[in-house]
């Protein structure tokens, strides 16, 4: 650790990992509700409540992970201490309490009660996918994001300005401003859906993607030690992201009731949305190749090299597949979407946060990395369990989706939704097994941190 204020990243990382485990646990419960086995520990919670926890905790812990990563990277890249480390810790506790309140609200109350208690009828913003948090929680989250942006901006503006930290700054300031869209929920459903995507799309395919690219570039720079070539690649990747992502939003506008030209705009720009991932794979294999580096932390290298490959498959290929308007006409709102979002979120955002944690945590905890040591072997095993099981989960869900589309939409003898679900049961079983393996991977991943102490030789 070059700067003592980088230590504020540690609680963020710990919270991120803990919430990740909870999120996966509820994901497994969701998967099991697809198979009608009425075990009490599965059906104690309704599907929609478990899904609220699964998706909302994902967003929260990824934000924790990003914040931790950025707090770690910024002092080093700006070559000075964080502007206000105290504020960073205070915001951590505020954000954690917001997350826990939201989690408990979803778990213990019915959603309608939760909406009533938090006064949703006065300013309705709840009940939209990914934006289910009560209005007051959204307000708190916005304040946390503002404080965070302020802290980072002051550090960056007073220090050395490089490609990586300016990109991170742009990413989080963009994230904060775009979050304002969460408070706009007009009573016309079509208009509400149109502007909801400004938030979801420009976070997940815009500013978050920029943050992800900057973190990846930072880790690769740390592995290879060659800043110049890393920045050259980052320049290309960011340029491609910016040019494709803004009008790529069109792929959300095919069937919500807006003008039909969005089908053309969305299709054309979404085809090119695969390019950033293409260049990311090219980048890591080109750069990690050129150096004769003997980087000691093997797990980081594994994470950093696999992230672009998996992102290319999950976000790139699976996204591309059903982004073309004529294909999307059949695949929209089926299990195919679910397959894409699982693999895309895991490969792009979960993996980049875990890459950063894998790089920064040993340094934050003053641990010496021992290759082949127990802790490293655990992490690599966890990597393979999680990545392979997620790959197969996405594959099984995608196959279920193809079957669903075929029976429900493509033939003349279209069957009702519920009738089809029984014929997909085998795939749902396989998917749940994938979920169990993934959870085992997460447990092993957490164990890695616990055993690190006894294994620091």
């Amino acid at each position: 650790m070059l700067y003592s204020s980088q230590a504020v990243a540690k609680p963020y990382f710990i919270a991120a990992i803990a919430l990740f485990a909870v999120q996966v646990l509820f994901g497994l419960l969701l998967g099991m509700q697809y198979i009608p086995v009425n075990l009490p520990f599965i059906s104690f919670i309704t599907f929609d409540a478990a899904r609220l926890i699964h998706t909302n905790l994902l967003i929260m812990w990824l934000l924790f992970g990003f914040m931790g990563s950025i707090y770690y990277i910024i002092p080093e890249e700006s070559e000075q201490e964080l502007y206000n480390p105290k504020l960073a810790i205070q915001l951590f506790w505020v954000f954690l309490s917001l997350t826990i309140i939201t989690f408990l609200g979803y778990l213990l109350l019915s959603y309608a009660t939760f909406a009533k208690i938090t006064g949703n009828q006065f300013f309705p913003t709840m009940g939209r996918e990914y934006l289910e948090q009560p209005t007051i929680i959204k307000l708190g989250l916005f304040i946390v994001l503002c404080g965070f942006s302020y802290n980072i901006a002051m550090t960056v503006l007073h220090g050395r300005k490089g490609m990586i930290n300016l990109l991170l700054l742009a990413g989080i300031v963009g994230t904060t401003i775009i979050f304002l869209m969460a408070f706009y929920n007009p009573s016309n459903l079509v208009v509400a859906k149109y502007y909801r995507w400004w938030l979801i799309h420009f976070w997940i395919e815009g500013t978050w993607e920029l943050i992800m690219e900057a973190i990846l570039a930072y880790v690769i720079y740390k592995i290879t030690g060659d800043r110049k070539i890393v920045e050259k690649w980052l320049y290309i990747i960011v340029a491609v992201t910016l040019t494709t992502t803004i009008l790529g939003i069109g792929h959300h506008y095919y069937w919500i009731g807006v003008s039909e030209y969005w089908q053309w705009v969305g299709t054309v720009f979404s085809i090119f949305e695969i390019l950033p991932f293409f260049f990311m794979v090219l980048f890591v294999f080109n750069v990690v190749n050129c150096t004769k580096c003997q980087y000691s932390n093997k797990a980081v290298k594994l994470w950093a090299l696999s992230t672009p490959i998996m992102a290319f498959l999950g976000a790139g290929v699976l996204g591309f597949l059903h982004t073309l308007a004529p294909v999307n006409y059949y695949s929209h709102g089926t299990q195919i979407t679910s397959a894409h979002s699982h693999l895309a979120f895991y490969s792009t955002y979960v993996m980049i946060v875990l890459t950063m944690i894998s790089y920064a945590m040993p340094i934050l905890r003053n641990r010496k990395i021992v290759n082949g040591g127990l802790s490293q072997r655990f992490e690599i095993l966890a990597f393979w369990l999680m990545t392979v099981s997620m790959f197969f989960m996405a594959l099984f869900i995608a196959i279920a989706g193809i079957m669903q589309v075929y029976i429900q939409r493509a033939t003349d003898l279209a069957l009702p939704f519920i009738e089809i679900q029984n014929s997909l049961m085998i795939l749902y079983w396989l998917r749940s097994i994938g979920g169990v393996v993934f959870l085992i991977g997460v447990i092993i991943y957490i164990t890695k941190f616990l055993i690190a102490k006894s294994n620091n030789l």
């Binding site: 309704t46 929609d48 609220l52 459903l189 960011v238 969005w262």
Partner: protein, 143 residues
Amino acid sequence: MKILTKPKYIYYSSLIVFVFLLLGLTIHTMIVLPQQDHRENLTPQIIQGKLIWEEHNCIGCHTLLGEGAYFAPELSNVYERRGGSHGGTYFIKAWLKAMPTNIPSRRQMPQFNLTEDELNALIAFLKWTSEINNSSWPPSKKG
């Protein structure tokens, strides 16, 4: 030429060009939208229905215009699927009241205990949604 290869100019120019394109398309979309979404039919009852839809987290299981969860059927066309003006309202109301069915090994929908007014508002919202001109999606009546 050198100025063009500087990252920040490339970024600024692409951002400006595409943000303006997006804003232009958005303005045009919003101008022609009233012909697509039939907002002249929006009544306070339908707006109340949307709030009920949101406050009971219906997208936690269902999809509406394809967005939501994939655990239960698409509902943007449920009004037509269940009979439209010939009994659609009656069917959906009876359905919501009969939940949960408690049929073994079938997914269960919770009982939301909506009042008669709330049920009417929710169904009015679903009826309005089914009339949105959205390029005839979903491809099949079954959703």
